[in-house]
Symmetry: C2
Subunit: 494 residues, 2 copies
């Protein structure tokens, strides 16, 4: 099957007009129930055909005894029946003219010789029948712009620009749950399972061509064909960032990976070299994978590793500077022009260095003035602003504290208006940062006194990314700068 | 002043029977108001005397024109007046027989020559007058068992076993805010400011002797007297863990640190060598400082770096194994005795390795059986259990998803009972883990599908620490193992 035919069939998989679920069930703990529930419980506009010979209806909709009995065309079949029944079901898919299948069932290569035999059998059936399948032993797929997910748990993620490819179902699901909770926009999710037919590289090639996708996150345990991956990734990274976590870099992790998906893990340094060569951004943990890729769906890409930091408190600036150096980012010294400009606004004893310590001054206009001066400085391409969001928490704590000793001291209206003013001031700062980010084309990462981790704050100038720790901001900028410098190198070559 | 006299005066500072706030104010944004509010808004049982010559009452209580006018003895003075007035105020403190002062005001060494001169002046006054002060340029202190805090923001942290010493006010405050939000028990907090008189080492020595303190967290920019620190830390770590973040390890960070508190930063490798020699646990970020020290107030200390991992999903186990190796932890191979024991409970294709993948089996009794088998294995001293808390979120999402397409399918009672059963099952698992942790004396870190980061789950067998990411669990165990092995080495020497 050539790449064009494959991509057409993948369109049927991720944007089906109709889907059949073979092994649909009425029993809430069974996968055949969980998956039908996820499909029905979102805004999927296509047709849904449960298949189960023992039922006339499932979850209130007509159920069919087999695929052949469905009176309409079917684009996608989701198979949730025991492994031994998969070969026949796949033959039925072929007979019905179904383009694509998601094989959820386990019981294949990962369970021993007999499973491996069945896995080879279904590969033969698929190749001969011209059907494309993902899995087996996958937890499913999601397609947020199509409001469609065949997953054992509903995410109902907001449609957006992030695609996720995961060689671990459990880990992939948790990443898209996180994404959904944080309001990061999802495009496609693919759990690749045993990769009997479709490999992670195939999905990367497919996702690379979708304009709705702005960044791709990959959790990788092993890539079967390194050369193919490099060719594909090299093409994709010309157009959009690819962020990868290669798991199994340790001895124990590598052994665990080989027994998990049976993949040839390969040496970690080989992967690192491969990623570097084709501009794939490498991260170390699932949290980093999520943060870096999510931020890259909305932020401009800096062409260098040079960063300016503004901080509300000296300690946080020092911690951020240390983290920058750890991650290969540079903090240029402030030029005299910026020192002069900030001299006019900051207390005379300000530190005159990068990180710029605004010495606890609490004026939103001052923050924005400093941030603009730094963003317009041509020696840096990214900014980190520390300590300027989440301060309303302090106001809340102050009010609660007052009320504990004398609730009558100030009127409720006054207290609420103070809190509201603080929240509004913070909104103005975030909006102002959005404006500066848009006008200068430089990403500005905001680190606050919050507990929520990564968040996307919407402004009329586009989203602003906020985080709870400086290290998270630094990791994001390091990933983006790595990619920006790779792109710069490509340009020079051509 | 000898150490005994110093400690007696520090008792007056942290456990005062009466406190005067010089510079108390009625205006809510002023520090003199914020600090009086924090003191009054907790359960402090001592007397509070605001001092301000322009007011008769402040926040409803009698205000005095100066310290001398207070008709009762005062243990502690908190000074929140401009730097130029501090020398006179400190002389008044001496005249009044006050044992200790917290000098919040800035405008000293950190602001130039004139400030440095005043700083030397107050040091002379204090030495001659026999008064002990912390600061200047500190954001204050807290003493949770005494329900007392002289801070610009209220934490009202639960009394407990953690003490925090911070050379950055901003950063220290945020750490104790985090601690309070997470329900970690606090003992003492000290922001050391400019360290004109009291150094971080003095506070370490003092806190090392308090039985209520189970672990000490230090944020360090620079230690003036390395030899003294080593002597003190070496004594303290015989009795309780000390966790330190040394900031300013990078070029930019070190420059920022020297301009921040004016400390001689010294080379990072010198600090690392110093910490290693005296058994201080070193961490890299404020989040790690908080997580490791908080966990160590409640968990048993493992004598080795050998860890067993149990996981609900293969991917998470691999990620955890990689993190373990990064942080110097070892994952021994499972002995045949444990393999045989788990063969009887797990599906036949289970991985028979450490990390043990329970292959998605959802039975709480099974988790506890596996965890007990691993905890009783004498080749490991710590455990990590991945993926077994936070699953009620999945049940909630399932219910919400069902309701989106047909709210009438199941009764509300049924749905609530399913959710309740899931929450109870999780509580049973956590309680069971608490029991195993207590019986085996091995820490068991639980990593779940949660968003909250570190949390302490109370059980009748003591607290169980849960986290959101494997790397957080690994960092905590690595810190504890480092300390446990240091203690083991001390024993061998003696």
């Amino acid at each position: 099957m050539d790449r064009i035919e494959l991509n057409n069939k993948l369109d049927k998989m991720f944007y089906p007009s109709s889907v059949a679920v073979v092994g649909a069930s009425e029993v809430p703990v069974k996968w055949g129930n969980l998956i039908v529930t996820s499909i029905l419980g979102w805004d999927y506009k296509g047709k849904v055909f449960p298949v189960n010979p023992k039922k006339d209806k499932i979850l209130g909709i007509t159920c069919y005894p087999n695929l052949t009995a469905i009176p309409e065309p079917v684009d996608l079949a989701v198979l949730v029946i025991p492994a031994t029944h998969i070969p026949n079901a796949l033959k039925e898919c072929v007979a019905k003219g179904i383009a694509a299948a998601v094989i959820i069932s386990s019981g294949f290569r990962e369970m021993g010789d007999e499973g491996a035999r069945i896995e080879r059998e279904i590969m033969d059936i698929a190749r001969q029948g011209g059907i494309v399948f993902i899995g087996p032993n996958t937890m499913g797929i999601a397609s947020a712009h199509h409001y469609f997910e065949a997953l054992p748990t509903s995410t109902a993620a907001k449609p957006g620009g992030l695609a996720v490819i995961s060689q671990s179902g459990n880990l992939g699901l948790q990443i898209i749950k996180w994404i959904a909770q944080k309001g990061v926009g999802l495009s496609l999710y693919a759990g690749t399972g045993n990769e009997a037919m479709l490999h992670a590289s195939d999905l990367l090639a497919y996702m690379g061509r979708k304009d709705e996708i702005k960044a791709i996150a990959m959790y990788i345990e092993g890539i079967a064909n390194g050369r193919e991956f490099m060719e594909i990734a090299g093409e994709v990274t010309k157009k959009k960032p690819v962020v990868a976590l290669k798991a199994g870099r340790s001895q124990a992790g590598s052994s665990a990976a080989s027994s998990h998906t049976g993949s040839l893990a390969g040496s970690y340094s080989t992967y690192t070299a491969m990623f570097t060569q084709v501009g794939v951004i490498q991260v170390d943990t699932p949290s980093e994978l999520m943060n870096v890729s999510a931020a890259m769906t909305v932020l401009p890409i800096p062409p260098s590793n040079r960063v300016a930091v503004m901080t509300m408190g000296g300690g946080w600036g020092i911690v951020a500077a240390d983290q920058c150096e750890d991650k290969g980012l540079a903090l240029p010294e402030l030029p005299s022009s910026i020192i002069r400009e900030l001299d006019a606004r900051l207390p005379q004893y300000w530190n005159r260095r990068n990180p710029v310590d605004v010495v606890g001054e609490g004026d939103p206009e001052l923050y924005l003035h400093v941030i603009r001066a730094l963003a317009e400085w041509d020696e840096v391409d990214s900014l980190i602003a520390l300590g300027i969001v989440g301060r309303s928490r302090y106001v809340e704590d102050f009010i609660a504290c007052q009320e504990r000793f004398d609730g009558t001291l100030y009127s409720k209206e006054l207290k609420l208006s103070v809190l509201k003013a603080q929240i509004q001031a913070e909104d103005r700062v975030i909006s102002g940062i959005g404006k500066i980010q848009k006008e200068t084309g430089k990403p500005i990462l905001v680190v606050g006194l919050t507990e929520e981790g990564l968040a996307l704050r919407q402004t009329s100038f586009g989203p602003v990314v906020t985080l709870s720790t400086p290290e998270d901001a630094v990791t994001i900028i390091a990933g983006m700068a790595h990619y920006g410098m790779y792109l710069g190198g490509l340009k020079q070559e051509s």
